[in-house]
């Protein structure tokens, strides 16, 4: 198993470097320079700016410099906010985004997992149909629609919860976390139900029941481990979706996280910021995929022997 993990890591590192290289050259392909602002800048100033940011060097030298700095964790300066580095901005936004993502996953796991287990145990009853129908709605309802609707209802009509900000008013983390977590709760509910149904049909469950174990012990101690495998393998790829979702949620609720920085950088054409965050997000996603693969390997003996 360690060999499999090492092999995965050995693949992941060159992939991150290739992504970084492709992104670097893509950004350089962009028409116009980073300093093509609204006002016209005198040629000499432009030349100095380019010299300061090393943009007058041949592209391959720039590339080599960038990659060397990157390996050391330095993403270069921001073109839009002079004096601030991209690394600094990433680490300002990251804790906020991670906290948001953590609450969202927590909500998704608790609600989705519970609904899925109950639906599987009480198969074909109202306790199965109702949560599963809600889950279907949750999957079809995009984040950028659910968020505003929640704001409209709980924030504006009922005036129960704050509708924007992060860590400034009590309860302002509730709506963003629910908005981001809802779709995942729905997916997890469906996956848990499927996984539990499959596990509950297996021989060792019959054995456990035949031994006279009470039903809650059968479910909690025996069925849950197998039933949650699909959920765990979903969590890795879900991180990619969570990052996309954080763009929307952070924009709607005006949260100063990495997602909003990224969207702002895209609007401002802050090329170094886009480049840096793209590489950072890619590395993050590849890392979480790796983690969820390893977790699945550990949970499922069959997958272990297959690979």
């Amino acid at each position: 198993m360690f060999q499999v993990i090492l092999k995965r890591i050995a693949i992941a590192i060159p992939v991150i470097l290739i992504v970084a290289s492709i992104t670097f050259f893509l950004v350089r392909l962009a028409p116009g320079g980073p300093f093509d602002a609204e006002k016209v800048v005198p040629p000499q100033v432009m030349k100095n700016l380019n010299a300061v940011y090393n943009l007058d060097a041949p592209i391959f030298i720039q590339y080599a410099d960038y990659m060397i700095n990157l390996v050391q964790g330095d993403f270069g300066p921001s073109f839009r906010y002079p004096g601030r580095s991209v690394t600094e901005m990433i680490f300002t936004g990251l804790p906020v985004t991670l906290e948001l993502a953590f609450y969202a996953i927590l909500i998704a796991m608790l609600i989705g997992g519970l609904a899925g287990v109950i639906a599987a145990v009480k198969r074909n009853t109202a306790l199965d149909f109702i949560p599963m129908t809600i889950a279907m709605i949750g999957i079809c309802m995009p984040t950028f629609l659910l968020g505003p609707l929640l704001v409209l209802f709980f924030g504006i009509h009922l005036e129960l919860l704050p509708v924007s900000g992060w860590d400034s008013l009590p309860g302002d983390k509730i709506l963003p976390s629910i908005t981001l977590g809802a779709a995942y709760a729905a997916y997890i509910a469906r996956l848990t139900r499927g996984g539990m149904l499959e596990t509950l049909g297996q021989d060792f469950i019959r054995t456990a029941r035949a031994k006279g174990l009470p039903e809650h012990q059968v479910i909690l101690r025996h069925a849950l481990q197998g039933g949650l495998v699909p959920v765990v393998s979903f969590l890795g790829p879900a991180i990619a979706g969570l990052i996309g979702g954080s763009f929307v949620v952070e924009t709607i609720f005006q949260i100063p996280g990495l997602g909003r920085f990224y969207v702002e950088a895209a609007f401002n054409r802050d090329y170094t910021m886009i480049l840096g965050t793209t590489i950072f997000f890619s590395a993050l996603i590849i890392f979480f995929n790796l983690l969820s693969d390893i977790a699945v390997l550990m949970m499922n003996p069959r997958a272990r022997s297959d690979s």
């Binding site: 962009a30 995009p142 950028f144 990619a240 763009f247 886009i274 996603i285 590849i286």
Partner: protein, 284 residues
């Protein structure tokens, strides 16, 4: 030939027996017709601004109300349907062409070709494509054709995997071996023996890709990185709706409702098609 048509007839019968799928199909057909006929049935111009009128709640003249610039919301949703559905179909077609070719080549030739091609798919799977689409839109400008291409270029991966799996199964069947022994050329083999047999799964997955593509487009348009004014998709309408929802909630609710219903219809229809054509393909 006879056998084939009876397979499709069977599938058709199973599809008609599925009420949710039929309802989804009817909603979709209606929407497509409305989108095509939009210039003739839209009661007002989608771009005519009447600033004196401003945002009006639904009334007999403007059945879904008007937006802050006095434009008729119903007409804008109709025209938005053209853009949203066009993105859905064109980007899915792009994904289809890439994914099916990739899957057939990998599955048919097998061996090293297969393992290299599928390794590439595995690696691409792990990448944050949403970010790359945003990157492309930023770098090359917000061009609708680029949007089609970029979304299509992202969504082909699963298609390639499904098609490869099907081709692998078919390739080892005796009639294919027999055809090979008779010296049938590769092109003929694809056309006559392999392609007709993978059509079912392709149709199913294509139907399920359309809603994903539409979601992606709406997501980009919501962030302001997709369709640009004066054109509007449902995503841009939702974006405007959110901006003014505090006073004019109908501007968010009607476009949002239309979009959600469409996604529902597509998902139900796709699920129904899957059950009808091949009950064996798993649901996730």
């Amino acid at each position: 030939m006879n056998n084939q048509s009876s397979l499709w007839a069977d599938a058709w019968r199973r599809l008609l027996a599925n009420k949710a799928a039929v309802a989804g199909g009817i909603i979709l057909l209606t929407l497509i017709m409305l989108a095509i006929l939009a210039p003739w049935i839209a009661p007002h111009s989608y771009s005519y601004q009447n600033l004196d009128l401003g945002a009006q709640p639904p009334s007999p003249t403007h059945i879904l109300g008007t937006d802050t610039l006095g434009r008729d919301l119903f007409s804008r949703i109709l025209y938005g349907a053209r853009v949203s559905l066009l993105v859905g179909f064109v980007a899915t077609a792009v994904a289809l062409v890439i994914g099916v070719s990739w899957g057939i080549i990998a599955g048919y030739f097998g061996g090293r070709v297969d393992s290299i091609m599928m390794r590439i798919v595995d690696v691409l799977y792990g990448l944050p494509f949403i970010i790359f689409i945003i990157l492309l839109m930023v770098i090359f400008g917000r061009n609708i054709w680029l949007l089609f291409g970029a979304i299509g270029a992202v969504e082909w991966l699963t298609m390639a995997r499904i098609v490869r799996g099907q081709v692998l199964t078919i390739k080892n069947q005796e009639y294919v071996l027999a055809a090979q022994a008779m010296g049938v050329s590769n092109v003929q083999m694809f056309r006559k023996h392999i392609f007709p047999n993978i059509l079912g799964p392709i149709a199913v997955y294509a139907t399920l890709t359309i809603p994903q593509v539409m979601l992606l487009e709406a997501f980009l348009s919501f962030l302001g990185l997709g369709i640009q004014p004066p054109m509007s998709s449902w995503g841009t309408l939702i974006r405007y709706g959110v901006e003014s929802m505090e006073e004019y909630s109908w501007l968010l609710i009607y476009p949002g409702l239309t979009f959600t219903i469409t996604l529902f219809a597509l998902n139900f229809f796709g699920d129904g098609l899957r059950d009808a054509l091949d009950p064996k393909i798993s649901s996730d």
